[in-house]
C-alpha cells in the first residue's frame, strides 16, 4: 500500500490553499488554522476546568462540614447541591476533558503529526469550535434562568430529567439538553476532520503503521464517539419532547420506561469514557519513549488492543445498570464482557511499562505527569474490574467507591494526561519552554493531593457510604466516617490551590519563558520537524517519511534519535514498504 501511496502523492498545491491570514479577527478569532483552533479549545477547556473545579470545592465543603457557610460563597442549599453535582460531572467530562484532549491536542497535533498543512475541512473545523463555544455559553447561561441549572445528575436519569416536578428545574434542564446536543454536533464535526485528515492527508511514506500512536488513539476515539452518540442524540430528542410536547418515552405514568434512557445513555456512556481515555493514553505513549530513549514496545499490539477495546466498549454498557432492574440474566454476559475488556487494556499498560524497561530514563515534568497518569490509572482500571463483577457491584453501586473509581480513571486520563500534553507540547504550541521548577511543584502537589482526596473515598465507599447525598450527618452509621470526609476536603482544597503554579507558569512562560528549539525533547515524530511554533501551513515543504515513529537509541546511529523525515538507514518499516 505504501509504495503505491507514495507514488500517488503529489506535492501540496500551496498557491490555492487559504492564503495567509490578514485581519485580527480572521487570524485569532474566526481562524481556520488548526493551530489557532487548537489553542482556542485549550483556552475554553482550561477556563471550564476552573468552573468545574469550583463546583467540586462547593460539593466537598458541603460534604465535610454540612450546612456551614462555604468560604467565598454562601450556604449550599439542597437543590443547589444537586445542581452542583450535575454540573460538575457535565462540565468535567464534556467541557473540560473532551475540549482539552480532543479539541486542543487532537486539532493541534493531527495535521502536524501526519505532515499536512491543515485539517481536511478547515472551515468545518472552525465551526466545530464555535459550536462548542456556543454550547458552553448555553450551559453557563442555564445557571441564571429561573429554577437554576440542571439537577438530574450528569447522566440525566429519567424520570428526574423528564418531568420538571421532580427536580423543580424547568428551563435549566432544557438548556442542559440543548448544550449537550450542541456539544455532540461539535465533536461529530471534529471527528470527521480527524478521521479524514489522518486517513487522507498523510505525508508520502507515512503508512498507517508508521503513524504516531497518538493519531491512532484520536482516530479510534473519533470512531467510538461517532458510533455511540447517535442513539443518545435520539434519546435527547425524546427527552426534550417528554419535557415539552407531552410525549411519554421515559415516563411510566404515560406508558414509557425510564430504563430506556439508561440504555441509551450508557450505550454512549461507556464508549465515551474511552473517548476521553484514549487520547490521554496517546499523549502518554508519545512521551514515554522520548524520555526513555527507547522504541515503543509492541506498537502493533497497542494498535490492535485499542481497536479491540473500542469494539468491546459497545457491549458492556449494562454494567452501569446491574441494580437498575434489568433482567438478572443479562448481568452475566455484561459482567463477562466487562472483565474481558481489561485484557486489551492490560496489554496497553504492559507495553507502556515494557517501553520503560531498561531505558535511560529522564524525568522532566512531562515525563513525571505521564508516569503519574500511568500509575493512577492502574488503580482506576483495577477497581473497574471489581465493579464489573455484578456480585460486587450490587454492593458497591452508588457508593463513594464508584466515585473514587471513576475519578481514578478520568483524572489520570483527562487531567494528568492533559497536563503531560501541555508540558510536552507547550514549546511547539507557543515557542517557549515552561519553567521546570514550577512544573515539578505543580506535579507533586497534584499527584499527592489527588490521592489524598480519592483513596479515602474508596474506603468510605466500602464502608457503605452512598453517593449523591446532601448531608452525611443525617445518617448515624455514616457519622464515624466524617473525619475521612474532612481529610478528603482539605486535600481537595490543596489540589485546587496546587493548580496555581500551572496558571502562573503558563502565562509567565508565554512572555518570559526560554525560547524553545524546534525539537527540544529530541523526538522523532513529524510535529518536531518544523519550527516552534510552526508557520502558517506547518511545513516549508511536504515532509517525506522514511521510518517508524519511535526509532530511539538505534545501534550504529550517531544520535540516539532518528526523526521520521530524515533520510537514513533503512529500517524495519522500510521493509514493509517494499
Amino acid at each position: 500500500m505504501t509504495a503505491r501511496a507514495v507514488a500517488k502523492a503529489t506535492p501540496e498545491p500551496h498557491h490555492n490553499r487559504h492564503s495567509a491570514p490578514q485581519s485580527f479577527w480572521r487570524k485569532y478569532v474566526f481562524s481556520v488554522d488548526h493551530k489557532v483552533i487548537g489553542k482556542q479549545y485549550l483556552a475554553l477547556g482550561l477556563f471550564m476546568a476552573l468552573v468545574g473545579g469550583f463546583t467540586a470545592y462547593l460539593i466537598r465543603w458541603q460534604l465535610a462540614w454540612p450546612e456551614t457557610e462555604v468560604p467565598g460563597w454562601s450556604y449550599v442549599e439542597p437543590d443547589f447541591y444537586n445542581t452542583m453535582v450535575t454540573m460538575h460531572g457535565t462540565i468535567m467530562v464534556f467541557f473540560v476533558a473532551m475540549p482539552i484532549l480532543l479539541g486542543a491536542f487532537g486539532n493541534f497535533l493531527i495535521p502536524l503529526m501526519v505532515g499536512a498543512p491543515d485539517m481536511a475541512f478547515p472551515r468545518l473545523n472552525m465551526m466545530s469550535f464555535w459550536t462548542i463555544f456556543t454550547a458552553s455559553c448555553v450551559l453557563m447561561a442555564s445557571f441564571f434562568v429561573p429554577g437554576g441549572a440542571a439537577a438530574a445528575g450528569w447522566t440525566g436519569y429519567a424520570p428526574l430529567s423528564a418531568d420538571p416536578v421532580y427536580t423543580g428545574v424547568d428551563w435549566g434542564q432544557n438548556l442542559w439538553i440543548l448544550a449537550l446536543a450542541l456539544e455532540f454536533s461539535s465533536f461529530l464535526m471534529g471527528g470527521v476532520n480527524f478521521m479524514t485528515t489522518a486517513i487522507n492527508m498523510r505525508a508520502p511514506g507515512l503508512s498507517l503503521f508508521r503513524l504516531p500512536l497518538f493519531v491512532w488513539m484520536q482516530m479510534t476515539a473519533a470512531v467510538l464517539f461517532m458510533l455511540s452518540v447517535g442513539p443518545l442524540i435520539a434519546g435527547a430528542v425524546m427527552l426534550l419532547l417528554d419535557r415539552t410536547a407531552g410525549t411519554g418515552f421515559f415516563l411510566p405514568a404515560r406508558g414509557g420506561d425510564p430504563l430506556l434512557w439508561q440504555h441509551l445513555f450508557w450505550f454512549f456512556g461507556h464508549p465515551e469514557v474511552y473517548v476521553v481515555l484514549l487520547p490521554g493514553f496517546g499523549a502518554i505513549l508519545e512521551i514515554l519513549p522520548v524520555f526513555a530513549r527507547k522504541p515503543i514496545f509492541g506498537y502493533r499490539a497497542i494498535v490492535y488492543s485499542t481497536i479491540a477495546a473500542g469494539a468491546l466498549s459497545f457491549i458492556v454498557w449494562a454494567h452501569h445498570m446491574f441494580i437498575s432492574g434489568i433482567d438478572a440474566r443479562l448481568a452475566i454476559p455484561f459482567s463477562v464482557t466487562t472483565i474481558l475488556i481489561s485484557v486489551p487494556f492490560a496489554i496497553m499498560i504492559f507495553s507502556m511499562i515494557a517501553t520503560l524497561w531498561g531505558g535511560s530514563l529522564r524525568f522532566p515534568t512531562p515525563m513525571l505527569f505521564a508516569l503519574g497518569a500511568l500509575a493512577t490509572f492502574l488503580i482506576g482500571g483495577v477497581t473497574g474490574i471489581f465493579l464489573g463483577s455484578a456480585a460486587v457491584d450490587i454492593f458497591m453501586h452508588d457508593t463513594y467507591f464508584v466515585v473514587a473509581h471513576f475519578h481514578f480513571t478520568l483524572f489520570p486520563s483527562a487531567l494528568l494526561g492533559g497536563f503531560a500534553a501541555i508540558y510536552y507540547w507547550y514549546p511547539k504550541m507557543f515557542g517557549r519552554m515552561l519553567d521546570e521548577t514550577l512544573g515539578k511543584l505543580h506535579f507533586w502537589i497534584t499527584i499527592v493531593a489527588f490521592n489524598c482526596v480519592f483513596i479515602p473515598l474508596f474506603l468510605v465507599g466500602m464502608g457503605g457510604h452512598m453517593r449523591r447525598i446532601y448531608n452525611p450527618l443525617q445518617y448515624d452509621f455514616l457519622k464515624p466516617m466524617q473525619p475521612i470526609h474532612e481529610f478528603a476536603t482539605i486535600a481537595a482544597i490543596v489540589l485546587l490551590l496546587g493548580q496555581i503554579p500551572l496558571i502562573v507558569n503558563f502565562f509567565w512562560s508565554l512572555a518570559f519563558g526560554r525560547r524553545a528549539a524546534d525539537n527540544p525533547w529530541q523526538a522523532n515524530t513529524l510535529e518536531w520537524a518544523t519550527t516552534s511554533p510552526p508557520p502558517h501551513e506547518n511545513f516549508a515543504a511536504v515532509p517525506t517519511v522514511y521510518r517508524d515513529a519511535y526509532e530511539y537509541s538505534l545501534p550504529g546511529n550517531a544520535t540516539d534519535w532518528l526523526p521520521q523525515h530524515v533520510p537514513g538507514p533503512a529500517l524495519k518499516a522500510q521493509e514493509q514498504a517494499a
Binding site: N16, R17, M201, I233, T247, F249
Partner: protein, 192 residues
Amino acid sequence: MAHSEHETRVFTEQPIGRVGMWWFLASEVMVFGGLLGSYILSRIAAGGWAAETAHVNTRIAAINTLILVTSSLTIVQAHAAVEAEEHTRARKYLLITVLLGLGFLCIKGFEYSIELGHGFTPASGLFWSYYYTMTGLHGLHVFAGVVVNFVLFLLAGGRRWAAVKQRVEYAGLYWHFVDVVWIFLFPLLYLA
C-alpha cells in the same frame, strides 16, 4: 475554499468530501438506529400496539413511499447527467427531485392534519409519541435534502458548474439515505 475538497494527497483514492459524507451518514444511521431500536423494543415490551396502528393511513403512506423511491431514481439520473457533463438534463432531474421531495412533505403534512383532526397528538400514547417523533425527524431530513438539492439546481445553472459536480454525488448519497430511512419507517409504523 472549494479547492480543499479536492485535496490531491489522497491515500485512499477517495475524495475527502466523499469520506466526510460517509462519516456523516454513518452517524445519522446511528441516530435513526437508536430511535428505531427504541421503538421496536418498546413495542415488544408493550405487547403490540395494534389498536393504535389501525389509525394510521397506510394508503397515503404507500403513495409517499412511491414518491420517495421515484425521487431516488431521479437523483441518480441527475448524477449520471452531471458525469456526462449534460447541464440542462442535470438541472431538469435536480428540479424533479426537489419537486418530488416537496410533494412528499405536502402529503405528509396533509396526513398529519388528518391524524391531528382525529385527536391523535404526540401526547396520545407511546405509539403516537414514536410516530410523530420518527416521521417528524425524517421529515426534517427530507426538508434539508430538498433545500440542498434546490441550491445545487440553482448553482448548476451558473458558472459554478465545477463546484456542483462532485456535490451532486454527495447530495445523492444523502438523499438515498433519507429514502432508506423511510423504507424502514413505512413497514414499522404502517404495516406492522
